[in-house]
Amino acid sequence: MPDLVVRQMLRARNGLAYLTGLNRPAVAQTPRDLIWQRDKARLWRYRSGQRRYGPPALIVHSLVSKSYVLDLLPNTSMVRYLVGEGFDVFLLDWISPDPADAENTFETYVDDYIPAAIGALLGDAGAKEMTLIGYCFGGILTLLVAAGHPELPIRNMMVMATPCDYREMGFMSNMFAEGRLDANDVIDQTGLVPARALDEGFQTLKPADLVVQRVNFFENLWNDEFVEGFLAISQWARDQVPFPGAAFRQTVSLLIRQNALLAGVIPLGRREARLKDIRCPFLNAFAEQDGITPAASSEPLTRLVGSEDASELRLRSGHIGFVAGRQAAKVARPQIADWIRRHSDEG
């Protein structure tokens, strides 16, 4: 009985704090320095006094969400964990695009921003090669970079929750694949796909989730740790960013309608990027309960790259839980760190 009373009091306190917005968690707390920037691209290096492994690791973030999911809270931060494990971690982040970015294509990222950021990283870290990591749509960009730029010194490569077979991507992909909608149907007058459209699309994938999440929140409202994590994750999940219209047209035409990633050959400018040209050690990490990038969509990547050392890491979590949840802390992060460590040098 006393437990029940205490819980009700905690529930009331946290509920009031939630309603007044007082318990909004502080995200992206890991100290970092801005190394390089071009237009909306930002390269960050995380501070560390214990860098034990090389080469440095560059995480390329997705174009459809904000990067603080990788550094959500101190106890669930993917980036903080990797830094703590002795890796030299860089993050290539994209500030929310505005109309000036509406004409950004895949080539803008693959032939311009990412190679330039890699150059800046190598200069800053004094390294000759690096480990390239892509999360979600950032994984697609890293695949195109690795396949389209064999001259870049990529020693190892890892993609996390990265789509490949767009037939398996469900509702959002099917809306465009079968011609129900064209890219221009969702691009606004500024040339961007509005953040609201993406948010509504993700919400539609699991219509009951919003209610279930509210119920879970109420049930655990007494639990400070749960409330903090819940608020951080739900803040991120609704914090979508617009998508450049030109890149979205390419997504619809190349990735969704032609399913070019599954074919292994992606037209890029006047050339073709072939996944078979990726020959460095490769890890394809994906989540079995991922509702945004289903495992069936990510799976084929492992056999499509040309690496002799290509493996997959199948995790029992969802898209966000992959990098920020309890499952990530227990299983995903240690296994990811272990793979990078095994493909790095100490000292």
């Binding site: 109309p99 509406a102 004409e103 509702f171 079968e178 007058q189 500024t190 994938l205 119920v215």
Partner: protein
């Protein structure tokens, strides 16, 4: 231990959620959603056109004018970016030494 109210909620929610998820993946739902998006877009555009005409009749700026301005500024910013890239590329190119020294200037007229 799971509370009774939660067990009751789960018992109702799980089959409903599963049904809702398969409904949104159905062709009927996707066709309906596509039509809704297209009609909504059409109606919004028509509404904006009428409002714009009315505002213009009174010599006032409309939302469309704002977008036109925004796109013009964006286009200027893109041109600036291209120029910046071109400049960086020129600065990073090695000097053209194989062409030999520049030709001497003609003697200045007295």
């Amino acid at each position: 231990m799971t509370s009774l109210w939660r067990q009751a909620f789960d018992a109702i929610e799980r089959p409903l959620a599963a049904a809702a998820e398969s409904w949104v993946q159905s062709k009927t739902f996707m066709d309906l959603a596509a039509v809704t998006i297209r009609v909504q877009r059409r109606l919004t555009a028509d509404g904006q056109r009428v409002t714009e005409q009315w505002l213009h009749a009174w010599g006032m700026p409309a939302r469309g004018d704002l977008f036109t301005l925004m796109n013009q500024v964006a286009s200027l910013e893109r041109q600036m970016r291209d120029l910046e890239r071109e400049l960086q590329l020129r600065n990073s190119r090695p000097p053209v030494s194989h062409l030999g020294p520049p030709a001497p200037l003609p003697p200045a007229e007295a």
